[in-house]
Structure formats: structure tokens, C-alpha cells
């Protein structure tokens, strides 16, 4: 079985190396590359494409969010995992909207980091109550049908109320893994929406008499 290739973008060398150590200690995970800045990462990640990328947000120069957005704009298959201290920040939501599929708290113990990486690779994502609320409001647009399925909406609603995955799984009669996969799909739809929004902004939006796509 191929090991999961992981890249790390982190400007603080101790953390970067600590993370590399943790990743490399795990047999099914391989640290493919590490970068100290967004610029380096943008150059390197298009050449040497990992499966997953742990992305710090606060970087010297361009931010991790910029980096994710650009790489995703060029249809990068990399699954980004934002590395953050505070999960409820706008920056985390921005990164998720830009193309990240999960986030990792910096105080997460090493074993949990590994679990999170494996879950992401398997197509599952985490989501806090605060982010769930932001996602819900981001999909609430007047005159537009939500792209979310009923089940996704149910999951989102419970997350927003502070329910644990386990509780949601119990309530909906599904596994916690399925809950995470729903969350992953929700993030994918958020990316699509976010990209459409960006394009609309660039070309003047629907209804305007411009070149269009």
C-alpha cells in the first residue's frame, strides 16, 4: 500500500521539523516536502504533488490562504489542511472557502494529527460549530437554491448547535466517518461556490453583457 504523501508549509522551523518528525514516524505517511514560505510552496507543490498539504496561514509574504487559492485555481489535486491555533477564526473559514478541506489545531496531540491526516485522505473533514454557522450563512443566498443536500443541511444544522460528530451520527443513524464525509462534500461545494463567485466578480457576474466564460 502506497503511503500518504504529505507536504508541510510552515515558516517556523521547529514546528515544521516537529511536524515532519511526527509524519515520518507513521508508517503509512511520508513527508514529501516542506516549505518555509507560500512562494516556495507554490513553486514546489506544482512540481512535486503530494496527497495532502498541511498549510500554516500566517506566513512571511503571501499567506497560506493565497497559496491554497492559487493552487486550487490551477486545479491542483492536493487536499489542503489548514494549520491553526484558533479554529473559529475568519481566516480558517477563508482558507476553507479558498480550497482547504480541513483544519488542524496546533495544540492537537500527535496521535490525533495522524488520525486527522488519515481521515482527510479518506475523504473526511472536521468542522466546528462556528465554522458550520459561517458555512450555512455563506450558502444562504436570496433567490438561489442551496447546492446542499438535505442530509448535508441536517449535518450542518447540528454542527452549528455544537453537537459532536458522535452525537450527529447517533441522531442521523450514520457513522461518524459518514458525518465527516458529508462535511468534506460541503467543503467541496463551498470551493465551487467560492470559485464561481470569484469568476463572477472578475467578469462582472451573471446578467452582465460581457464575454462570459
Amino acid at each position: 500500500m502506497d503511503s500518504i504523501r504529505v507536504s508541510i508549509v510552515e515558516d517556523i522551523i521547529e514546528i515544521r521539523e516537529g511536524m515532519r518528525f511526527i509524519v515520518n514516524q507513521t508508517p503509512d505517511l511520508t513527508c514529501l516536502s516542506t516549505y518555509g514560505s507560500a512562494e516556495e510552496a507554490m513553486a514546489g507543490l506544482t512540481q512535486d504533488v503530494p496527497d495532502l498539504c498541511i498549510m500554516d496561514i500566517a506566513l512571511p509574504g503571501s499567506t497560506g490562504i493565497d497559496c491554497i487559492r492559487r493552487l486550487k485555481a490551477s486545479d491542483s489535486p492536493i487536499q489542503f489542511m489548514v494549520f491553526t491555533i484558533y479554529e473559529n477564526s475568519d481566516q480558517v473559514f477563508e482558507a476553507l472557502a479558498a480550497g482547504a478541506s480541513g483544519y488542524l489545531l496546533k495544540d492537537t496531540p500527535p496521535d490525533r494529527i495522524i488520525t486527522a491526516l488519515r481521515e482527510l485522505y479518506a475523504g473526511g473533514s472536521p468542522m466546528s460549530a462556528s465554522i458550520a454557522r459561517k458555512v450555512v450563512s455563506s450558502f444562504q443566498r436570496p433567490g438561489a437554491a442551496t447546492p446542499l443536500s438535505t442530509r448535508e443541511q441536517e449535518v450542518l444544522a447540528l454542527l452549528a448547535k455544537g453537537f459532536l460528530y458522535k452525537e450527529i451520527a447517533q441522531q442521523l443513524g450514520i457513522s461518524t466517518g459518514t458525518v465527516r464525509q458529508h462535511i468534506h462534500h460541503i467543503y467541496d461545494k463551498l470551493h465551487v461556490q467560492n470559485r464561481t463567485e470569484a469568476i463572477n466578480k472578475f467578469f462582472g457576474g451573471p446578467g452582465s453583457n460581457t464575454h462570459g466564460l
Binding site: 484558533y86 473559529n88 477564526s89 496546533k106 495544540d107 454557522r133 455544537g162 452525537e167
Partner: protein, 659 residues
């Protein structure tokens, strides 16, 4: 009575004068036989001032009227004063009729009318009838007739008439008829004129009074002549002539003959005209009737001239001119001179004709002057009357002007009032409008102030939020990075021994704890999380996480839906920390295997109940534990809420806080 024919020529003036005197003094002639002034004076001196003295005074006045009219007026005046003193209306009316008749002869018609109208008033006031009524009304009519106001005169005569007819005094009635007849003649109403004249005649015939009949026939005849009923006129006058001869009344005979002459003259029958005049002339001479003689001579001369008997005409005219000149008959003199001028041309003496013509001119002028003089009073009177009428009209016009002015003023006043009202309304409306506007402005100002205050608070809040965000950001970026570095450094350390491993682990735990604590602080400071939803979700997530890690079963019951409410930072922080402390205590001390957490909102009170199935606790026993509780109670107090607990199959904690 020679004047009757004059009347027929000159109009009703003279006849009215004479006849009115008849009304005024029917019982007395100018000089009463058997009376003389001395005896009257005697009577006057001996009589006391009673009503009988009034007729005495009148009588005395009448003695003077003809020659000394001023003296007459004096006595009449005394009679009037005495009548007033004695409240003797009949006496007063007698005074008026005598006094006014003198005024009439002097042409003071207005004064006369005024006085007579007073008599009329007196008459009506004292309901006097009979002779007094006839005197008052009749004399008023006469005065109007003199003045030339024929309509008023007719009016008063007609008022007099029924009373006179009732009294049945033929003389008076006849006079009235004659006067009315004359007035209608002058008013050019032949039918009425002839009608009254006929009535006069009928009356005379009825009473078999030949004297009256003669005069009536003369009057009627003259009227008929004037209205070109020649044969009827001649018939009546000839009847009058025979009556005159029957009565041996020379005056009537002369008058009748003269009128016959005039009638034939008008009928262009000079021969008969001459015959009549020739018969009249000796009678006139016998009566010493100067105007009559002059008129007759002229009539004769015209007849001779018309029959081309010029020399006869000439000789007659020579005598007539001398006569007229001698007696001051200016009109006749003038007419004679003019005729003489024509006769001289007919006789082939143009020089003489011119001489007579010149004489005619000068006499004519003199005559005109004289007539002017005689008419001057009349003219003046008429002028005065007209002036008065003019004044009256002017006053009328002025009154109308005043009325108009009053109407205009009223219109102005009304307009002014309306304008004032409108202005007042406008003013009130403006005032109210401005006041409303002021109020609105004040409200707007207050709103603006409130808004400004809002903005200020918002700015303050934003500033605070901004500050909080900055602090959060710095903590997150700098401290977070540092702590994370510390954490990862610890993890990367190879523990040399067990003791070292323990220290490394401790370092890692401390770093993790710090990061977690920092997260809490950042959450607390994040204003985006200032909602009830957010607070409940956060409490739930963290409590659940802690309990799950400790392997304690938990159940949540959260009111759904939760009301959308804002919860401020302090309240949020304290409530979170209290719940965290409670859950921490359960995990650390209770030994519970399950926890039930209920969250609900009633009104604005947030209620959180945490019920575990642990061993409970004795508040007095555990000192450390007690401190924790005190701390929790203090936090609840800080947010205006309270905390209760109970030992109930474990521990039940009730938290209540206003949000």
C-alpha cells in the same frame, strides 16, 4: 268779474287768486257794510283775549289788506298768535288762509305753501271738517297752483272736493270746479277740463243761480273756444250774454261780448267780431274797465284791418295808442303800435310804418322789462324752488353716494375681516406648521443626536472590537506561534530517561493547556461570537469534549429553536467559565458516570442545569472544592445571575442569568 276773460287768455293765475279769496272769506267782502275801522278797534280794545277776538283781528286785517298789506299781516299775525295761545285751531286756520293770500299776492308761494300745509296738519290733527278743511286744503291747492305745481294743486283740490260737495255750498263748489277745470286746461287734458267746467254749469243750473250759470257758461265757452269747439263755445257765451242782460250784470255782459269778439276773431269772421267789440266798448267805458277798453279797441282795430278799413283802423288805433299809453297798458300799447305799423304800410306810408315799428320796438322792450320785473319774483321763486330741488337732488345723490360709500365701506370692512380671518388662519397654520416642523426638527435633532451617540458608541464598540481583535491577532500570531514552537520542541526531544520524559511531557501539557486557554480567550474576545447560539454551541462542544475524553456519558437537552439574542462578552465569558468549572469538577471529583445538561431560555433568562449521578459533595467539607464554588457563584453574580445546587442522586447545579 272782468278778470274772467283775462283768465281765459293768461291762464288760471288770476282766476285762482280771485276764487281762492272767495274760499278764504266767503262771508266778508273787502269792506264789510256796517263796519268801520273805528268800531272794530273799539271792539278789539274791549274784547278779552278769547276765541271771539280772533275773527275781530282777522276782520281788522282784512280792512287793511287792500291798501296796507303790512298792517293786514300784523293783525293776521296777532290772530294767529292768539289762536295758538288759546289752542283754537279754527282760528289758526283762518289766520293761515288770510296771511297766505297776502303772501300769494306777493309771489311768496313757497312760504304760502308751507303755512297752508301747517294748516292742513292742524286740520288733520284736530279732525276739523267743513269750511276749515276746505280752507286748509283748498288754499294749499291754490298756493301750489300759483307756484305752477299743477299736479299738487289738482291733488289738494280733489281732496277738498268731496268735503265741499258734502257741504253743498254752491259758490265754493263752483269755484272748485272752475279751478280744476282751469288746471286741467293747463295740463292739456281737455276732457277733464271740460268735464269740471260742465259740472260747474250743472251746479249753477241745478241751483238756479243765474250769476253762477253765466260765469260757468263763459268759462265753458272759453274752454270750448280754446279746444276749437267754436260753435259750442259761442252758444254758451251767447247764453251767458243773455243771462247778463237778464241780470243787468254789465261786467258779465262786457265779458261775454269780449269773448264773443275773440271767438269770431279766431274764427276769422272780422265782421261779427267787430259787431261784438263795438257793443262791448261802451259798456267797458261805463265800467271804467281800462284793460277791457284796451283789449276791445285792439280787437276792433284788428277787425277793421282785416276788413281793409284802414283809415278807420288808423283813427281807432290813434285813440287806442293814446289810451294805452296814458293808462300804462303796455302790452296793448305795443300790440296797437305793431298793428298801426301794418296799417300805415297798407295806407302807403312806409316812413310812418317804420316810426310805429320803432315805437313798437321800444314799447315792446319796456313791456318786456316790465313783465320781466313783474315776473322777477316768480322767477326768483322758481329759481329758489329749482335750487332747492337741485339741493334736494344733490342731497339725494349725496345720500346715495353715502349709501354707496357705506356699502363700499361695508364691503371693505367685510373684505378686511375676511382677509384678517384668512391671515389669522394662515398665521395659525404657519405657526402650527413651523411648530410641527420645529418639533420634527427637534425630533430629528434628537434622532440625530441619538444616532451620533449610536455612532459614537458603535465607534467605541468598534474601537473596542478592533482592539480586542488586535490583541487576539497578536496573541494568536506571536504567542500562538511561540507556544506551538515550544510544544513541537518538546515533542521532538528524545527523553534521556524516565524523569526527563516526565518533564518533557509536562512541558508539552503546559504548552497545550496554554494554547487551549488562549483559544478560549480569543473566543471570548471575538465579537462575532456575541450570540446566544454561539455561547450554547461553544459550551456544548467544550463540555462534551471534556466529558467524552473522561469517558463520562452525557446527554444534552437544548431548547430548539433558541431565540436570536446577543450576549455580551462578559456574560459569555463568565457563563462559559462557570459551566467549564462545573464540568471540570464532575470529571475530577464526582465519580459520575453520566451527566444530563439542560439549556433553555425563558424570557431573557438563560437557565442551565447540570445534573450528574456522582457522589455529590459536602460544601462544608471540601475546602478546595468550596473555593471553586465561591468562584462560580461570584461569576454568576457578576453577570446579574445566580447559582443554586442541590444533592439529588448526585449533584444538580442550577445556573440562571439574564442575557
Amino acid at each position: 268779474m272782468w278778470k274772467l276773460y283775462t283768465v281765459s287768455r293768461k291762464g288760471p293765475f288770476s282766476i285762482a287768486l280771485i276764487l281762492s279769496m272767495l274760499i278764504a272769506r266767503p262771508a266778508h267782502a273787502q269792506i264789510t257794510p256796517g263796519f268801520n275801522r273805528d268800531s272794530v278797534w273799539h271792539l278789539l280794545a274791549t274784547r278779552p283775549d278769547d276765541t271771539l277776538k280772533v275773527p275781530v283781528l282777522i276782520l281788522l286785517g282784512q280792512q287793511y289788506e287792500y291798501n296796507q298789506p303790512d298792517s293786514a299781516l300784523y293783525y293776521y299775525d296777532r290772530a294767529g298768535q292768539l289762536s295758538r295761545q288759546l289752542h283754537y285751531p279754527a282760528g289758526y286756520i283762518r289766520y293761515v288762509s288770510n296771511y297766505a293770500s297776502v303772501l300769494n299776492t306777493r309771489g311768496k308761494f313757497d312760504e304760502s305753501i308751507r303755512l297752508n300745509l301747517q294748516a292742513v296738519d292742524t286740520c288733520l290733527k284736530y279732525r276739523l271738517g267743513g269750511l276749515n278743511y276746505i280752507r286748509a286744503f283748498g288754499n294749499t291747492a291754490t298756493a301750489y297752483q300759483y307756484k305752477g305745481d299743477y299736479a299738487a294743486a289738482v291733488d289738494y283740490y280733489l281732496k277738498t272736493l268731496p268735503v265741499a260737495e258734502g257741504m253743498g255750498d254752491a259758490g265754493t263748489l263752483s269755484t272748485l270746479y272752475n279751478n280744476l277745470s282751469g288746471l286741467y286746461r293747463d295740463l292739456q287734458q281737455p276732457e277733464k277740463a271740460l268735464g269740471y267746467s260742465q259740472k260747474s254749469l250743472d251746479l249753477a243750473e241745478k241751483t238756479h243761480d243765474l250769476n253762477l250759470e253765466g260765469n260757468a257758461r263763459i268759462n265753458l265757452g272759453n274752454l270750448q273756444k280754446d279746444f276749437n269747439q267754436m260753435s259750442g263755445g259761442l252758444h254758451n257765451i251767447e247764453r251767458a250774454l243773455s243771462i247778463a242782460r237778464q241780470l243787468h250784470d254789465s261786467v258779465m255782459e262786457e265779458t261775454a261780448l269780449v269773448n264773443i269778439g275773440d271767438t269770431y276773431e279766431k274764427m276769422h269772421d272780422p265782421a261779427r267780431s267787430i259787431t261784438a267789440f263795438q257793443k262791448a266798448l261802451p259798456i267797458a267805458a261805463a265800467l271804467k274797465d281800462v284793460p277791457g277798453q284796451a283789449h276791445i279797441s285792439q280787437g276792433l282795430a284788428i277787425g277793421l284791418f282785416q276788413t281793409a278799413r284802414y283809415p278807420a283802423a288808423q283813427s281807432l288805433l290813434l285813440k287806442a295808442i293814446a289810451f294805452d299809453s296814458a293808462h300804462g297798458e303796455k302790452k296793448m300799447w305795443r300790440d296797437a303800435l305793431l298793428l298801426m305799423s301794418d296799417v300805415q304800410i297798407a295806407l302807403g306810408h312806409p316812413d310812418l310804418s317804420r316810426q310805429y315799428r320803432d315805437q313798437y320796438d321800444s314799447v315792446s322792450e319796456a313791456y318786456l322789462n316790465a313783465s320781466l320785473l313783474t315776473n322777477i319774483q316768480e322767477l326768483e321763486t322758481k329759481y329758489k324752488v329749482e335750487k332747492q330741488q337741485h339741493d334736494l337732488l344733490k342731497k339725494d345723490v349725496q345720500l346715495k353716494e353715502k349709501d354707496k360709500a357705506a356699502i363700499r365701506q361695508r364691503a371693505w370692512l367685510i373684505t378686511a375681516i375676511i382677509v384678517a380671518c384668512l391671515l389669522t388662519i394662515l398665521f395659525i397654520l404657519t405657526w402650527r406648521f413651523s411648530r410641527q416642523r420645529q418639533q420634527l426638527q427637534q425630533r430629528a435633532i434628537r434622532a440625530l443626536e441619538a444616532e451620533q451617540e449610536n455612532v459614537r458608541l458603535k465607534a467605541k464598540l468598534e474601537g473596542q472590537q478592533h482592539e480586542r481583535q488586535r490583541i487576539s491577532q497578536e496573541m494568536h500570531d506571536d504567542m500562538g506561534s511561540g507556544l506551538t514552537s515550544l510544544l513541537f520542541l518538546g515533542r521532538s526531544l528524545k527523553p534521556p530517561d524516565d524523569q526527563g520524559s516526565a518533564i518533557t511531557h509536562k512541558i508539552q501539557q503546559t504548552a497545550e493547556g496554554l494554547i487551549h486557554k488562549m483559544n478560549e480567550i480569543i473566543w471570548t474576545m471575538n465579537y462575532e461570537q456575541d450570540t446566544l447560539d454561539s455561547l450554547i454551541a461553544y459550551i456544548r462542544t467544550n463540555a462534551a469534549g471534556m466529558l467524552e475524553n473522561a469517558g463520562i456519558d452525557f446527554r444534552y437537552s437544548v431548547q430548539d429553536p433558541l431565540p436570536q439574542m446577543a450576549v455580551n462578552q462578559e456574560c459569555r465569558r463568565n457563563l462559559y467559565l462557570v459551566v467549564k468549572e462545573a464540568v471540570h469538577n464532575i470529571v475530577r471529583h464526582s465519580g459520575a458516570s453520566s451527566v444530563q445538561i439542560d439549556i433553555s431560555v425563558t424570557g431573557s433568562i438563560l437557565a442551565i442545569t447540570i445534573h450528574d449521578n456522582g457522589k455529590g459533595f459536602d460544601p462544608a467539607a471540601g475546602h478546595r472544592f468550596g473555593n471553586g464554588l465561591k468562584n462560580m457563584a461570584r461569576r454568576m453574580q457578576q453577570v446579574g445571575g445566580k447559582m443554586d445546587w442541590a444533592i439529588d442522586n448526585g449533584t444538580r447545579l442550577d445556573l440562571r442569568a439574564p442575557v
